[in-house]
């Protein structure tokens, strides 16, 4: 039964982005779809970075979402829980406010994304008497709220004609301005983060049990937790620094993947990445085609994600009860 599910997902989802590619080509090139090899180069030059970025970022957010949900033993957790998105958002807002160039804005977003989580982790580590997970989540919420206040302040101070729209646009997430350079620049962070998640895939299964069980089964929970948080944060910060805040993927996709292949992380991680990539490619395609004006990604992922999530709740309730 499980094997059938695995075969089903692994068979289906590598194909799914390819189908989307085909759709994309048809849409962009009209009638001349007959010769795919030559069209491919054309399409890659025009839309390539965007699709590649959507694949990389979708996969990244879904992978770190899966890791966080396992680590926090809570299926309602998303990669933002420790403040990486809020930190990155403040970094980008600050960069825009200071009228920095694009690399400066992205660099600052990346740095503050990492910084926010580092502060949250340091706070939680210094309060050792309490349940480590609870303190992490609470510190994450507090720091996130504080960063939100800083962003509001900057928005209030920003030039309403130039800077404010740029800030708002960034906060809603978009892949429209992405370049090949951006895609290349996030790859090291994403890959460096992905390796430990994959290597620790069995330990991550054990981490979904209670803290005491994981410890008595021989897992050094503190070290695994630090490694996974560092890895997932690095990936997310890299992705978010070029795309802006794209919500829902890290929350929703791991659920869907778990429904298909079960909770074992060695199957969940690849499945979530494929689904995340496919989902973001699809949503980004919609974002630039359904209306004359490009719709911000954050808006679309929420509009598609919310009802989908409710449907998932109805279908898979027993799955994580």
């Amino acid at each position: 039964m499980i094997l059938v599910l695995v075969a089903f997902s692994v068979g289906r989802y590598p194909v799914s982005p390819a189908q989307l590619f085909a759709l994309l080509w048809a849409k962009l090139t009209g009638a001349s779809i007959a010769a795919p090899p030559t069209l491919e180069t054309v399409v890659f030059r025009v839309r390539g970075p965007r699709v590649l970025a959507a694949i990389a970022i979708g996969a990244t957010l879904a992978a770190s979402g899966s890791a966080y949900q396992g680590l926090f033993r809570n299926p309602l957790v998303s990669p933002d829980i420790l403040g990486v998105s809020s930190g990155a958002a403040l970094g980008a807002t600050l960069g825009i406010y200071l009228s920095w160039g694009v690399p400066g804005i992205q660099g600052l977003a990346f740095a503050l994304g990492l910084g926010a989580v580092a502060v949250v982790y340091a706070i939680a580590a210094s309060l050792r008497r309490l349940d480590p997970l609870l303190v992490l989540v609470l510190a994450g919420i507090v720091i996130g709220t504080m960063l939100g206040a800083c962003i509001s302040l900057l928005k209030y101070l920003a030039d309403p004609y130039n800077q404010l729209p740029a800030i708002t646009f960034w906060l809603l997430g978009s892949l429209s301005a992405i370049t090949f350079g951006d895609v290349v620049s996030i790859l090291p962070g994403v890959l460096v983060g992905l390796v430990p998640l994959w290597l620790l895939r069995w330990r991550l299964n054990v981490m979904t049990l209670s803290e005491e069980e994981a410890l008595t089964l021989g897992v050094d929970t503190r070290r695994v937790r630090l490694t996974v948080i560092a890895a997932a944060t690095l990936m997310t910060a890299a992705a978010v620094s070029v795309s802006g805040v794209i919500g829902w993927i890290g929350l929703l996709i791991p659920h869907f993947a778990r429904l298909l292949v079960g909770p074992d992380f060695s199957r969940l991680l690849p499945a979530a990445m494929l689904l995340g990539a496919a989902y973001l490619v699809a949503v980004d395609t919609l974002a630039r085609t359904i209306a004359p004006l490009e719709i911000p990604l954050g808006v679309l992922t929420a509009f598609i994600g919310a009802p989908f999530f409710i449907w998932l709740l109805a279908v898979s309730r027993r799955g994580w009860q």
Partner: protein, 270 residues
């Protein structure tokens, strides 16, 4: 294998729960911990398992202090059967038992074919092979307890620590778990369990430790420890302890409490 606790003082960060606990336990032996709620049974277990740092005293395995042992090394010596709780994610029973192999794997490794074989073997030992593909979240409480025992066995420990393994099980499952405990001791494992039912100690324990206010009130064979006087002392109730002849001809000691004789001077229950 031999486990020694020496003058162990234990408790939470800023609150000592018990002290002066000294006993030893050998392979093949079943030690049953009895005592009222709040007497320190669970805290003592957590300290032995190094989930809590001891406040004083030492713990030895085969004469070697376990201070400074890595988590993996501890897990190869001690296995813990917690009271069955629901997981968050629906791992199958087979995968849940397979997690018992973690301490034998490298940090980055996943279980091998051999590990899977051991997990399946332990399911067989506990007689729950038919549950292998079922989600752990969807089986009954008794089946869950058996799964956790199978997981602990897959850990191949020298010492098995079980916190109230019969709590919240129906009568049949309680006796089934006690039979398994007897079998485990036959395999040479040292078993340390806590229970609230003195009759369970008569059924499966070689020795009984009575823990009261964090100290060992009595330690010895079940017949020595579980007496009318000791039960009155720690629980503040009136109990007749008598012999009964079982259908198989063996004489078994049982406790029969009398209702409505609670001693007002007792401070056993907090």
């Amino acid at each position: 294998m031999r486990l020694d606790l020496q003058d162990l003082a234990f408790g939470y960060a800023h609150r000592e729960v018990g002290r002066d606990v000294t006993f030893s336990l050998s392979g093949g032996e079943v030690l049953c911990l009895l005592g009222p709620n709040g007497g320190g049974k669970t805290t003592l277990f957590k300290t032995v398992l190094r989930l809590l740092a001891p406040h004083g005293g030492r713990i030895f395995v085969d004469g070697e202090s376990i201070t400074g042992w890595s988590r993996a090394r501890l897990a190869r010596a001690f296995a813990y059967v917690p009271q069955a709780q629901l997981g968050v994610f629906p791992f199958t029973v087979a995968d849940t038992v397979l997690m018992g192999r973690t301490a034998h794997l490298g940090a980055f490794a996943t279980p091998s074919r051999g590990d899977r074989a051991i997990a399946l073997e332990m399911l067989g030992v506990l007689g729950i092979s038919h549950l292998a593909a079922r989600p752990y979240t969807e089986i009954s409480g008794g089946e869950r307890q058996l799964t956790l025992i199978a997981r602990a066995l897959a850990q191949e420990p020298a010492i098995l620590v079980m916190d109230e393994p019969t709590a919240s099980l129906d009568f049949g499952n309680q006796i089934r778990v006690l039979s398994e405990i007897e079998q485990l001791a036959h395999r040479g494992i040292a078993v340390m369990l806590s229970t609230h039912d003195p009759d369970h100690a008569f059924l499966c324990a070689h020795r009984v430790a009575l823990l009261h206010h964090g100290r060992l009130a009595r330690l010895g064979s079940p017949e020595q420890v579980i007496t009318r006087e000791s039960l009155r002392e720690v629980y503040g109730i009136e109990v007749s302890v008598m012999d009964a002849t079982r259908a198989d001809g063996r004489v078994v000691r049982v406790c029969i409490p009398t209702l409505g004789t609670i001693d007002p001077r007792s401070d056993a229950e907090r």
